[in-house]
């Protein structure tokens, strides 16, 4: 292994590779910041370009776009409450309140630094523990994935602790909406309400754009504010954020990075699930969980750290087993196969220089992300000095083209508008759009794994409970889910107890 380190580092110093990292990162950040354009789309669009390059350079550029796009999503999440990619849904919970409080620069810098940190932790795991972690990920079958999703869904209990019933109703509405389309078990049209295009189902990204972006446009236009948010640049903001992160967020950063890496390894579970689980865990373990959602740096840090750590995690099964951990990893796998490289553990021996150059390039990309991100932040905060009316109108246009571009379907434009109106009404009657988004994201995975368990129980002995609770990983996840559901009650009891003794 060590014999590949020096050639890999030399490869990395090639001016072309450095240029590709910078260009990939910049392009990725811009793609990520535009609502509707995802990391998968950015990487997929650039795959044909890499055919003209050698494999190492092509892979370096794709990796840079991937990392840049996942981070880029946080910019629009903080500035206009619109997650640029589904991975940054949880970033809006605290990033947007920070922006509204005039601390947009702090929110953006925190998301940048924690993204870079999370990315590096994920890559460190990829470098050091690829083989054992890949073997662990393979143990996740239908029941384990089902419980993992339910664990993610239990976030609602913590997220909506003010009115858990409304949170649960919102989550259920989201899950119900996710059942629209083709029934994955019987392949029959389901809940299309006589409108044939609905057979395509409700795509997650347009629904997110509607719930968070279009509904936010309605809210902003309906407010009497002249600008999106007041922006008070803080002198020395970078130093302050670094000190805050290094001082009080150490545990949050490490825990979220670990969660991101582990979730990233699991096929189908992407950055959005990792970020939501990490946010939930940070809130749960905090001494004062009510602070979350009010605009605190820890909230932004946990979400951003986790979603960028997913990158390293997703590359572990891709490089070692040839199983992609995310949609982007699947596209990159396709690019590797097109170049005649068969992923598997041999990739670290037969083509070790390629594998290690790519891994080291991910470290470099995460370091380069800081100066490039800082430069782009300066441009992006200027958005806050444009009159709100113009920004809101422009967001509608970007939402429309962003949603259409996912599958070139006019249906997605309608999904944005309908979910925007639903999101706006829900905000007025205090139903939780965040919980609804969780239901829409996790619903298809829960249903798929639920179906797998039902089929498995029919094949074994007819006992579905046995299938659900057969493995130790499933039992651990059940325990964690129950713990997560009980957390608000335990915290309320502790709070009442503390108030009584004051």
């Amino acid at each position: 292994m060590n014999e590949f380190f020096m050639p890999a580092l030399l490869n990395l110093c090639d001016p072309l590779n450095i240029f590709l990292m910078i260009a990939g990162l910049t392009g990725g950040i811009i793609i990520g910041a535009l609502p509707g354009l995802t990391a998968t789309m950015g990487v997929a669009l650039m795959v044909p370009v890499t055919f003209a390059m050698d494999t190492t350079s092509g892979l370096i550029m794709l990796g840079a776009i991937y990392a840049g796009a996942i981070y880029g999503g946080s910019n629009s999440a903080c500035l206009i409450c619109t997650p640029g990619t589904p991975s940054s849904v949880a970033t809006t919970f605290d990033g947007w309140p920070m922006c509204q409080a005039g601390k947009a620069d702090k929110a953006l810098i925190a998301s940048l630094l924690t993204s870079a940190f999370g990315g590096m932790v994920g890559v460190a795991f990829l470098l050091c523990l690829a083989a054992p972690l890949a073997r662990f990920a393979v143990k996740f079958g239908g029941p384990e994935s089902f419980w993992l999703c339910l664990f993610g869904l239990s976030t609602i209990a913590v997220m909506s602790s003010g009115n858990m019933l409304k949170g649960l109703v919102s989550g259920a509405i989201g899950m119900l909406v996710a059942t629209v389309g083709l029934d994955p078990h019987g392949a029959a049209p389901r809940f299309t309400f006589g409108y044939y295009p609905l057979i395509q189902g409700v795509e997650v990204i347009p629904a997110m754009i509607g719930l968070f972006s279009f509904s936010q446009v309605l809210y902003l236009i309906g407010s009497y504010k002249p600008y999106i948010a007041q922006y008070n640049p803080t002198p020395g903001a970078f130093g302050q954020v670094v000190r805050e992160l290094a001082g009080k967020c150490k545990i949050v950063l490490l825990r979220s990075s670990l969660i991101g890496t582990l979730v990233g390894m699991l096929p189908g579970a992407g950055g959005e699930i990792a970020a939501i689980i990490a946010y939930n865990e940070s809130k749960r373990w905090d001494k004062n969980p009510d602070r979350y959602g009010t605009g605190i740096i820890e909230g932004v840090a946990s979400s951003e750290c986790a979603n960028n750590a997913v990158i390293g995690g997703a590359l572990i099964p891709m490089l070692t087993l040839g199983i992609p951990g995310s949609a982007v990893a699947a596209v990159m796998l396709g690019a590797l196969l097109a170049k005649g490289i068969q992923p598997g553990f041999k990739v670290f021996t037969a083509t070790g220089d390629l594998a290690y150059t790519f891994i080291f390039s991910q470290f470099a990309v995460n370091l380069l992300m800081i100066p490039i991100g800082l430069l782009l932040i300066r441009l992006m905060v200027r958005l806050l000095s444009i009159r709100l009316t113009f920004v809101a109108i422009a967001i509608v246009m970007l939402s429309v083209i962003g949603s259409y571009s996912i599958r070139n379907s006019v249906l997605d434009i309608w999904i944005v508008l309908v979910f925007g109106l639903i999101g706006y009404i829900c905000n007025r009657i205090k139903l939780d759009s965040g919980a609804m988004a969780l239901g829409i994201i996790l619903g298809p995975m829960i249903e798929e794994n639920f179906g797998k368990c039902v089929s498995l129980s029919k094949a074994v002995d007819g006992s579905i409970l046995r299938v659900f609770m057969d493995s130790s990983i499933a039992m651990l996840l059940i325990f964690l889910t129950l713990l997560s559901l009980c957390t608000p009650f335990i915290l309320n009891r502790k709070r009442r107890h503390a108030q009584k003794h004051l």
Partner: protein, 152 residues
């Protein structure tokens, strides 16, 4: 809006939605039917609890109950942008993306911009910048297709 009222409105909204989905279960069978039915059953239970909590809150503090939403809303502006967006979505497949976008951007900027100074200039500028930026980024740079219609 009072908390109890918002609870009851939310419950009615969720109940209506579950009723709509329940009535459309049609010919579904197996897991494809059981899974949404499980969600519907769970939702109905939550809705009943929400109604109970709303009614109890209303009985307990009829007069003293705090309002949970005191922020004023410019309803007219919300209705204008909603209607303009719906018209925009209708006209995209008819006129084409860029023509419909230009109309939407210009119209919405003219109507919603409350500043009387250089309103026409600002609307033209916004329309030109956005159309050019989206065309350059989506159509030229990324090669993403845009909806086509009568015009470009």
């Amino acid at each position: 809006m009072r908390k109890s009222t918002s609870d009851l409105v939310a419950a009615v909204f969720a109940l209506a939605l579950s009723g709509l989905f329940f009535l459309n279960t049609g010919d579904l069978e197996g897991t494809g039917l059981n899974y949404p039915l499980l969600i519907l059953a769970f939702m109905v239970l939550c809705v009943l609890a929400l109604i109970f909590s709303g009614l109890r809150a209303r009985q307990r503090a009829e007069d003293g109950e705090a309002r949970i939403d005191a922020e004023p809303v410019a309803v007219k502006r919300v209705l204008i942008i909603s209607a303009a967006s719906l018209l925009y979505a209708i006209f995209i497949p008819i006129l084409g993306f860029y023509a419909a976008s230009a109309l939407f951007l210009f119209g919405a900027a003219m109507v919603l911009n409350e500043s009387k100074v250089r309103r026409l200039k600002a609307a033209c500028l916004l329309t030109a910048i956005m159309c050019l930026a989206v065309w350059a980024a989506f159509a030229k740079l990324l090669g993403v297709p845009t909806p086509e219609g009568l015009f470009y």
